[in-house]
């Protein structure tokens, strides 16, 4: 089965081989080479919640490989009429060969994978998992450092509700990176995940202040702190202001350090950072295309040739 619901659906070897394949697909993702590996195949983009980057990069990935896309949005559809997720997925199974699903409810991707035979790629379920984002994040980290073992990856911001960091932290621990988790206590990593990371033997440090961590970091991964998570605005302002990076803050950081962000950013990363060597977030957004290409091919059982031309 080609489902990817959580990172546990991929072995370490599979992760690495998907990253290798994604690398080979870069010219296709850029539109320099046309490789219709998925010609005649149909992807259903099932977005029960808004998304810009994830939905568009899935669409770009499918189209660059010669496939086509059905876009579903829950606004004004049968969902508004009270259709169950089960029924919606059963219906779409008749129209498409593979589906990417984003849903506000946690567990929706696993539920869909159980409901239908076609492969399901989890594109974010509630505050749960977002493994295709993790794959593109891993791709970005490997592009910069060529390894994971021993890297110090600093994850910053909303670690409680930010689903991207949940999947990513699992994967990084498996691949041998060290994690430094920086968050206010109210937004710290959920206990199930923290306990899993420890059980897997992860070297994990939890702290509340960011600036001491910048010097020793190989990767700084910022996330957006969501205002609605806070009981009052004063508390939000206090926390949000603490995790804000400007170009000047990066003066003492290691050569080769990369600054990542799943986007959209609000003001966690000042625009002065954009012109520094560390700024990697726009490349990261592009990397969604080749990694999702590789995941779509895996899901559909299509081999990616050693030389893509």
């Amino acid at each position: 089965m080609g489902d990817v619901v959580t990172m546990d659906d991929l072995s370490d070897d599979e992760i690495i081989s998907i990253l290798d394949e994604a690398e080979r697909l870069i010219p296709v993702a850029k539109g320099e080479v046309y490789a219709p590996l998925l010609e005649g195949k149909v992807l259903a983009n099932m977005f029960f919640e808004n998304s810009t980057r994830t939905r568009m990069s899935f669409e770009a990935a499918m189209k660059r490989l010669g496939g086509s896309v059905l876009n579903f949005s829950s606004v004004g559809t049968s969902i508004a009429k009270g259709e169950t997720l089960y029924d919606t997925m059963k219906m779409i199974e008749g129209y498409a060969d593979i589906a990417a699903i984003r849903h506000p409810r946690q567990g929706a991707a696993q539920y869909s994978a159980d409901a239908v035979e076609i492969p399901i790629l989890n594109a974010g379920d509630g505050a749960g998992n977002h493994p295709t984002q993790t794959m593109l994040d891993l791709f970005t980290i490997r592009q910069a450092h060529r390894k994971f073992e021993g890297l110090n990856v600093v994850l910053v911001g909303d670690l409680r509700y930010g689903r991207t960091v949940h999947s990513l932290s699992h994967a990084l621990v498996r691949l041998g990176a060290r994690l430094t988790l920086v968050s206010p206590e109210v937004l710290s990593m959920p206990e199930e995940i923290a306990s899993d990371l420890r059980v897997k033997g992860g070297e994990v440090t939890e702290v509340e202040t960011l600036y001491d961590q910048l010097e020793d970091a190989d990767v700084v991964y910022m996330t957006r702190i969501q205002k609605e998570r806070f009981p009052d605005e004063e508390e939000y302002n206090r926390v949000a202001g603490v995790y804000r990076i400007t170009a000047a803050d990066l003066n003492g950081s290691k050569k080769g350090m990369i600054l990542m962000h799943p986007l959209p950013r609000v003001d966690e990363i000042d625009s002065s950072v954009d012109s520094t060597a560390a700024a990697t977030y726009f490349e990261q957004a592009f990397n969604g295309v080749p990694t999702r290409m590789a995941l779509l091919c895996r899901g559909l059982g299509v081999n990616i040739p050693e030389k893509v031309k």
Binding site: T84, L85, Y86, R105, Q106, G107, A108, Y111, A115, A127
Partner: protein
């Protein structure tokens, strides 16, 4: 038992002993024993026990519970011991065992889980991550479940 028997011996049926004190009614619910049916059910609560301090005991007449039914018990009563009685004698002794997967035993307590919509037709599924101490998570959303919530959410 040195003191006087609180409930008389049964001729045929099932005795469930060593239920944690105060949980006998949940066990009845969990085993889906129809209390309105004709089967006599005797229930003893909060009696002294060497093993548990205090315990509950259930005697269900004229019904032999299957291993599968008993496995449901394991969630709230992993220490329970079961005797199948035939003609006043213990014919079989059984232990409960907590399975790795629990299907339609209890529902997930997480308010944002996909299974919260009770019109969704797939079964409730829980994974037993650890048996000692018992740690249970929702198969779909992955959220850890508190024992009190599981008991509250028994199906």
């Amino acid at each position: 038992m040195t003191e006087m028997r609180r409930v008389t011996a049964i001729k045929n049926g099932t005795v469930i002993d060593h239920i944690p004190s105060g949980h006998a009614l949940q066990v009845i619910r969990m085993l889906k024993i129809d209390v309105a049916s004709a089967t006599p059910v005797s229930l003893v609560m909060n009696v002294p026990s060497d093993k548990l301090g205090r315990k509950d005991v259930l005697k269900i007449e004229d019904r032999e519970l299957s291993q599968e039914e008993l496995d449901r018990l394991a969630l709230i009563s992993p220490e329970a011991s079961i005797a199948i009685i035939r003609n006043y004698a213990v014919a079989e002794k059984m232990m409960v065992e907590l399975a790795d997967y629990l299907e339609n035993i209890a529902s997930c307590s997480f308010t944002n889980c996909i299974t919260m919509n009770d019109r969704e037709p797939l079964p409730q599924r829980l994974i037993v991550v650890s048996k000692d101490p018992i740690e249970v998570r929702c198969y779909y959303c992955g959220k850890g479940q508190e024992m009190e919530d599981l008991i509250e959410n028994l199906l």
